[in-house]
Symmetry: C2
Subunit: 338 residues, 2 copies
Amino acid sequence: MGRQATMSDIARRAGVSRVAVSYAINGRPGVSDAVRERILRIAAELGFLPSVPAQALHGAAAHAIGLAVSRPSPGLSVETFHRRLISGIQAELAGRGFGLVLQFVTGHDDELDVYRRWHGERRVDGVIVSDLTLDDPRPRALASMGLPAVILGEPSGPGGLTHLWSDPAAGADLVAGHLAALGHRRVARVCGPAGLLPAARRAGLFAAACERAGMACTLIPTDRTGEAGAQVTRRVLSSTPRPTAIVYDNDVMAVAGLSVAGEMGLAVPGELSLVAGDDFPLCQAVRPALTVLSRDVDALGGQAVRLLFELLDGGEPRHVPAPAAQLVTRGSTGSAPR
Amino acid sequence: MGRQATMSDIARRAGVSRVAVSYAINGRPGVSDAVRERILRIAAELGFLPSVPAQALHGAAAHAIGLAVSRPSPGLSVETFHRRLISGIQAELAGRGFGLVLQFVTGHDDELDVYRRWHGERRVDGVIVSDLTLDDPRPRALASMGLPAVILGEPSGPGGLTHLWSDPAAGADLVAGHLAALGHRRVARVCGPAGLLPAARRAGLFAAACERAGMACTLIPTDRTGEAGAQVTRRVLSSTPRPTAIVYDNDVMAVAGLSVAGEMGLAVPGELSLVAGDDFPLCQAVRPALTVLSRDVDALGGQAVRLLFELLDGGEPRHVPAPAAQLVTRGSTGSAPR
DNA sequence: CGCTGGAACTAAACCGAGTAAGCGAGCCAG
DNA sequence: CTGGCTCGCTTACTCGGTTTAGTTCCAGCG
């Protein structure tokens, strides 16, 4: 009710100056224990909380970090990825009293405008950037803007920003190795858009891993939607010779692929093995449950936040490897048909 | 580069006082057109943006609204629901220069703490509340806190807050009518947790709608996870007499159910019809695509924001009906087996 | 010629905090 | 007994913008 209590209110009630209240509440020396205690009691009574805008006025701390999410990138996986990323970010943020400001954007230009606005309006202290593309303008722009940022993705140019990314080679080897060990010799890889840096790298590395494992590999780029997953799967399964395993870049395409396989009367994993590129609840809900290459996205978000705080505390930007992806074997992969 | 330009910087460069700059930038009378133009030109050159914290200091406008999302509520549908809600909120917010502050919470108490903090710290101007439960303490608490709020859900107590909700009866009738017209006589409804207000209401109304349509209906409460969807489906399909149609409260359970039906050798829609409770990309990705009861969640989010702005502009709280859900017929429903 | 009025601008106060500097009291040492 | 030191608290200034109250200048008008 009424308005929020301010330090002046507390000072008046306690019969001291406003500054004494500031010292008491921030736990700095300058007030006696007796007065400090009285002030804290009154503050608690009044439900006092310091005004973030007022604090942000003098220092630069807005006590918030920003995350811009590319809106039109289709495919459930991306959504789920971001949701888990946000979840991980939150967990780390909560302890520090920081807030998360979220904004959907439609492209890099739009996103940079958002960063400029956030920074200009002192709304956020730093940002976390995901979905790196080839020749991405964002790192450079952020650096010249002076807005602290943690980039989720491999550093390409020079740019002195903090990057956090995991080596996709390890994951590619895991999947290729698993399939090769099961006796597969012909596999298809349903990839993400060729323009997205991580998707392109994953595709290339998987092809290389297949070669090393002695398997033939077909790469098919898609827009990562379920529709695309279904279409591509139908086409691939109609080709001759038919691959005995398909690896999908995300979960929604894999689910669509599984449905198509069922429709075409192919037993999974008896006649066809499937691997999904990310582990989300959906992958365990379908029958058979999908073998997945799983990243701990929550942990990634948390680590990104910790790196951002490092920057905010005056640390130098650095490049950090993220934990590697792990293969979770479920019912959708089995021995290759003979 | 450097720090952000302030009004003082502009004033110095333009050779006028800070106040003149304020007038010029806010389009208020008090400066000549010549000076105004010069000030605006310099402001643009310097990339000036007013500091939100500084503005928030005098009025109450933080230029942000808050959304707390219940974190542990399981089930992909809820996640997707929130994602689309956020998307709709964003679209409406973007035009007004408002930001969205997001926070995951673990329960009502936690959520109320978050609201208290947001409000106390002047971080947000209002909030949007979803996932109403029976005897929900949040509306009352928000009202007594004086924090403007739009509640997505049916008003239960008195409380003078704005509520936005759609009549679930219409949707229940649509689904029941559709199935009855196809000749179904025995249906199962896989529901959400009994404690969630909308889930409970939907369940009750669907049972009533079935009765009116002359169908027998079994209600089964679940926690909405894919696992639960699979389990319940297996149990239901093993019972005698077997229902000829199953209606799920969300998408992930429906997908799990579809997989189980395939596993058990039941043709969809030949021997069994399935309906999902929400329309998300996933429902179109699987084969056959799922018939769904679709709400325009994006529009809902947008409308919630508009109602919140009404409140912020001094409007009175009111109760508003949301657009009714629509039935989208796809491949998973067909004539009942004879 | 002087009075009124409005346009154009400025000085000063304010919002709610943080920080630096100042000042009186009490204590200790010389 | 007094100089100097610390403790405890206050006054004064800052942040960046808004608002209120003037002030100056000039035109119009009686």
